[in-house]
């Protein structure tokens, strides 16, 4: 049974897994000149600088939300542009990719949604789908072009009676990953609940059976193995976002 990770759950998770706590941003800088220059010990993660960087992360969230256009589309490519082989990427090695039991899999819905009945895979596959060939850009800098097909998230949210004035859409995943996006990005026409990659049903390494494909955000905002969607006004955060990656991370 999928559980929605709201902030109180996340704190508990942090206790269970000490690695999952917020990391310092200032960094263990060993460059004497800059330490002299700023007069601060930058290796202290609770420093004024660390708090300032966290404040700037939130400032950058607001700036990016203001810059976001609900209609401007990410560049699309042709099949000839597709990157082969496509690179596997996760916060764990490929051997640890979860094998989800597709027959028993249900997409749970939670939060500000009228119809919370869980969805089985064939019911989602029966919905109208759209394809895209777009560039997936990793926060690390590399990028690759791939083809995905699936149900536009906006159409799905409207169908289940989600409160479209809510601020956040959160995703819980079968690989203990979680992430969340702003509602405006969720309703963008290229944001899809992908069922297919390269014209075949998602295989486990690509997040079977359901993943988010959102070309207006960085790769880590494209959660795989989705088991639950929650619509909420409380920011659900995310695995990397809570460690210190910029939450909005829009492209």
């Amino acid at each position: 049974m999928a559980r929605i990770l709201l902030p109180e759950h996340r704190r508990a998770l942090g206790k269970l897994q000490p690695g999952l706590t917020r990391r310092g941003l200032a960094g263990g800088l060993s460059l004497g000149a800059l330490t002299l220059l700023t007069g601060c010990d930058l290796s202290d993660d609770d420093s004024v600088i660390d708090r300032a960087l966290w404040a700037m992360l939130r400032f950058n969230d607001r700036v990016q939300a203001a810059m976001f256009s609900p209609t401007r589309l990410a560049r699309t490519y042709t099949r000839a542009d597709i990157t082969k082989p496509f690179r596997f990427n996760a916060f764990y090695p490929i051997e640890r990719v979860p094998q989800i039991d597709l027959a028993g899999w249900r997409l749970e819905l939670a939060g500000l949604i009228d119809q919370k009945k869980p969805w089985a895979l064939p019911d989602i596959m029966a919905l109208p789908q759209e394809s895209q060939i777009t560039r997936h850009i990793c926060v690390e800098g590399w990028s690759q072009i791939g083809e995905w097909r699936g149900v536009p998230l906006g159409n799905f949210l409207r169908r289940v009676g989600a409160d479209l004035t809510a601020r956040y859409v959160g995703f819980t995943c079968g690989d203990e990953y979680y992430s969340s996006i702003d509602m405006a990005s969720a309703l963008h026409p290229q944001t899809i609940l992908a069922l297919e990659f390269e014209q075949t049903a998602l295989s486990p390494i690509w997040g079977a059976p359901l993943r988010l494909r959102i070309p207006t955000k960085l790769g880590f905002k494209n959660p795989k193995f989705i088991t639950a969607i929650t619509v909420t006004n409380e920011n659900p955060g995310g695995y990397w976002e809570d460690l210190g990656y910029n939450w909005f991370s829009g492209s």
């Binding site: 941003l25 700037m56 810059m67």
Partner: protein, 202 residues
């Protein structure tokens, strides 16, 4: 008898934007090296000891903080430079002949460093680094916002070419910085000038 006119000074806007921009640029370069290490474009990594941020998330936080500082000081400097005539007056590009002649003199360490006037080599270097810094910001915006600034990204080819250009701008700026610091060390009164405003020293 009227007193002599005071020696020309670095305007307060020039000095302020120089130092704010310098701090921002150093933070951007060092955090950029940490970001580079997450997915190196070339077959080497930058030693962690001379990077900023400690890990990728920290480096990006530094980079996208210092970015605002650089853009603010840069906008202030460019607005002043155009509006006051500073660029037209002091940074006008020389002819090729003038540049090569003065460059040859500079390489023989035989170029006068007159108070209140930039020689041809200085004009080319300072105007050049300003142009490169502007390109560094533009290529940076192109890879930060390839969707929202799609036309800008397309101007540089695409995301991956803009990323390589952004890296190239860093290399050019680091190259400028090394030469700049060596020259300041040779003519240290220019450092005082950039702090107190007095060109050509005390």
């Amino acid at each position: 008898m009227t007193p002599l006119a005071p020696p020309p000074r670095h305007h307060i806007v020039v000095r302020l934007s120089h130092w704010v921009g310098a701090v921002a640029m150093i933070c951007l370069i060092l955090s950029g090296w940490q970001i580079y290490n997450a997915s190196p474009l070339l077959p080497f990594r930058i030693p962690g000891a001379i990077t900023l941020g400690g890990w990728l998330g920290g480096a990006i936080a530094w980079h996208l903080t210092a970015m605002w500082l650089l853009m603010a000081s840069g906008a202030m400097y460019l607005a002043y430079g155009f509006a006051s005539g500073h660029f037209r007056r002091d940074l006008a590009l020389p002819s090729v002949g003038e540049f090569t002649g003065e460059m040859a003199a500079a390489l023989r360490l035989n170029l006068p460093h007159d108070a209140g006037r930039y020689n041809a080599v200085q004009r080319v270097f300072y105007a050049g680094v300003v142009a490169i810094a502007v390109l560094a910001v533009l290529t940076g915006l192109a890879i930060w916002k390839p969707v929202q600034f799609g036309p800008l990204t397309a101007l540089f080819g695409d995301y991956d070419t803009a990323r390589k250009l952004h890296f190239t701008m860093m290399v050019l700026i680091v190259g400028f910085l090394l030469i700049h610091l060596v020259l300041v060390a040779i003519v240290p009164r220019t450092l005082l000038g950039m702090i107190t405003g007095k060109r050509g020293g005390v």
